[in-house]
């Protein structure tokens, strides 16, 4: 783990530079961007907002990066968010918050296990396997909320969206906690290497004695759990569960965050920290466009341009060019 954190700045230079550049651009459009103030024991400011609003996608990208590293993809995370939010909001009436929370996270985990089962045991292509839950998931969430937007007034559940821990907004603190937990689980053990091996060459890993099925299921299960956490946070944020709109299209943002974080969609090596940084970069872009007073519609176009740029940088053809340029520079 220490080796990882040492290596990180070097491998992630472009991502960190891109994030800083976007923050600077935000500072240019809005002079108060870096201003922080403490009010009622909680930090406020545009920068805090970037982290706070970026928390759900950052959480999703934590799970997504593991799934993508196994050479998979999880399209269902947005729908899983909706289900988890619906469960939490419905159960908090008449049950304790701890129970509602445990049920929501449990449902997220269950959704992840289902996806993992389809991919690893039934050997269905990840895109299709998770498409099933993406399509059916919102229906299930609506079934739980009975088609209404279920609101709640439980202050302790709302704390997950609006509260603060030592001045830091709860969603940010939870995301940081999940990041550390994931790092510990994945980099503190051999699991991370096993995931990378499965993604790089599943056949060879299987022959080398790695339980690729178990590794794959674990990755999807973690992804489902992260989506569950993100679902609770976004339900707590609006004090209600909206089965139609909670987490809508966030799966695409999460995939984008992972790709911006430099993890290849073809599996193999991955970086958790850079994936989270990718999510924050996307949010910094969104916030910047909002602050600049441009129409928010511009957002999608900017996002598309960023995806294309990142993809071009990652494309095998251009990678060859990069190696060639590097060689020229060193010789």
């Amino acid at each position: 783990m220490t080796v990882m954190s040492f290596r990180m700045p070097r491998t992630g230079t472009p991502q960190i530079l891109a994030f800083l550049a976007i923050l600077l651009a935000d500072r240019l459009v809005s002079p108060q961007f870096f201003d922080l103030r403490l009010q009622d024991g909680r930090l406020f400011g545009s920068l805090v907002d970037v982290f706070n609003r970026g928390a759900p996608v950052a959480l999703l990208s934590l799970g997504m990066v593991l799934v993508i590293a196994t050479r998979g993809i999880d399209l269902s995370v947005g729908a899983v968010m909706a289900i988890a939010g619906a469960v939490a909001a419905s159960l908090v009436h008449g049950h304790s918050v701890a129970f509602a929370l445990a049920a929501a996270l449990g449902v997220g985990l269950l959704c992840g296990l289902w996806n993992g089962f389809l991919v690893a045991v039934l050997r269905i292509q990840p895109i299709v396997a998770t498409l099933i839950l993406m399509v059916a998931g919102r229906g299930i969430a609506q079934l739980i909320t009975e088609g209404r937007i279920v609101t709640f007034s439980s202050a302790s559940l709302a704390w997950f969206g609006n509260g603060s821990v030592l001045g830091v907004p709860t969603p940010v603190a939870i995301t940081l906690g999940m990041l550390l937990l994931t790092l510990l689980l994945v980099r503190g053990t051999a699991l991370g290497v096993l995931i990378e091996a499965t993604g790089a060459n599943a056949r060879a890993s299987e022959l080398a004695g790695i339980g690729t099925s178990a590794v794959t299921i674990a990755a999807y299960a973690w992804c489902g759990l992260c989506a569950g956490v993100a679902g609770v946070i976004s339900a707590a944020d609006i004090l209600g569960a909206d089965a139609n709109n909670a987490g809508l299209w966030l799966e695409l943002d999460a995939i984008l965050a992972v790709v911006i974080g430099g993890t290849s969609l073809f599996g193999g090596r991955f970086s958790l920290i850079l994936a989270v940084l990718g999510a924050l970069t996307i949010q910094a872009m969104n916030t910047g466009i909002l602050l600049s007073g441009y129409r928010p519609e511009l957002n999608l176009v900017v996002k598309a341009v960023v995806v294309i740029a990142v993809l071009l940088l990652q494309s095998p053809r251009l990678a060859g060019l990069g190696i060639w340029l590097n060689r020229k520079r060193t010789t």
Binding site: R71, L118, A120, G139, L298, A304
Partner: protein
């Protein structure tokens, strides 16, 4: 025969489902209901034809819903605000779609990027472009839009088959011929089987891939035109999520998502099954609309599981590896 089995199962499910519905509701089996099926799903069917080509070639196109949205907004602005003749607007928007598809196909082929992510970028771009043009819903009042109502074919039994349903059926017919009886179609199947072998056989891969995505975007544009006929309006948020319905229709129709196998008729049946579910829910009246999603999801799972079993029997075991994306 084994390849035909998924299509036969889909067809059987549709026929049995239709018969059960007819038993429950006496007026279900009428030309009116069937004509409504075709009309309400006309735009979906047109996109599904393009998606069938893309999926058989082993790719995926997530941009189609956004292209429909873009097309409707573009048409509304061009016809209503700029006073263009509808025909000129159709021609321009179809050319834009063709170029858009060509760009995506070229990116997929020349930069060796996964179709999923390229068309995802295309999805953002097309939807963003639609929003940039206008965020309002703009009604289209051109005379042509009211005139096409007169082209409705009246079926015996009171069914009315409007022009858009005819366009959809024609696109299915032409698409079927293109896929099953031309060299281009054979190349699409070959690409889905193995890109490398296809190249080694002497098929020119680059133009084939580019043409596949051009076709998909062109049909999405045509679908957008049909959608604007259907709603008589242009709106940037129209057809959100249609790409998923389309992929679901193609998969339920028995087309293998790994590419290389599938039939145009299967896609048609997949479309009809989705229409059947919606119509049943409308007829029943007590079921909520979210059941559509759950049943579609369940059918997706059932058909994919069936395919998986068939593939397992066709191949020797242990050739497919966990987590592998083709």
């Amino acid at each position: 025969m084994r390849r035909l089995l998924p299509v036969l199962v889909t067809t059987a499910v549709f026929v049995v489902g239709f018969m059960l519905c007819s038993l429950q509701f006496p007026h279900f089996a009428s030309t009116r209901v069937v004509a409504n099926f075709l009309t309400d799903n006309a735009f979906l069917g047109i996109v599904a034809v393009g998606m069938t080509f893309v999926i058989i070639s082993g790719g995926i196109d997530l941009s189609v819903g956004s292209v429909i949205g873009f097309t409707t907004v573009f048409l509304a602005i061009a016809i209503e605000r700029l006073g263009m003749s509808p025909w000129a607007a159709f021609a321009i928007v179809l050319v834009i779609c063709l170029l858009f598809g060509a760009a995506m196909g070229a990116a997929i082929h020349y930069f060796e990027m996964p179709p999923f992510i390229v068309t995802l970028a295309g999805m953002f771009l097309a939807r963003g472009a639609a929003f940039m043009i206008s965020t309002e819903s703009i009604p289209i009042n051109a005379p042509l839009y009211t005139d096409i109502d007169r082209l409705t074919i009246h079926l015996p039994g009171g069914g009315r088959l409007p022009l858009i349903a005819d366009i959809m059926l024609a696109v299915f017919a032409v698409g079927g011929v293109l896929l099953h009886f031309t060299r281009f179609g054979t190349n699409v199947y070959a690409l889905g089987g193995s890109r490398q072998s296809t190249a080694l056989m002497g098929v020119r891969v680059a133009p084939t891939i580019i043409r596949i995505y051009m076709l998909s975007s062109l049909l999405a544009g045509l679908s957008g035109i049909v959608f604007s006929f259907y709603t008589s309006a242009g709106y940037a948020l129209s057809a959100v999520g249609v790409e998923l319905d389309t992929i679901a229709a193609v998969v339920i129709g028995g087309t293998l998502l790994t590419g290389g196998a599938g039939y145009m008729f299967g896609t048609f049946m997949g479309l009809m099954i989705q229409g059947l579910i919606q119509t049943y829910i409308t007829f029943d009246g007590t079921l909520s609309s979210w059941w559509t999603k759950i049943v579609t999801g369940f059918l997706l799972f059932a058909f994919i599981a069936l395919q998986q079993i068939l593939v397992r029997f066709a191949k020797r075991p242990a050739t497919v590896v966990a987590g592998a994306v083709p």
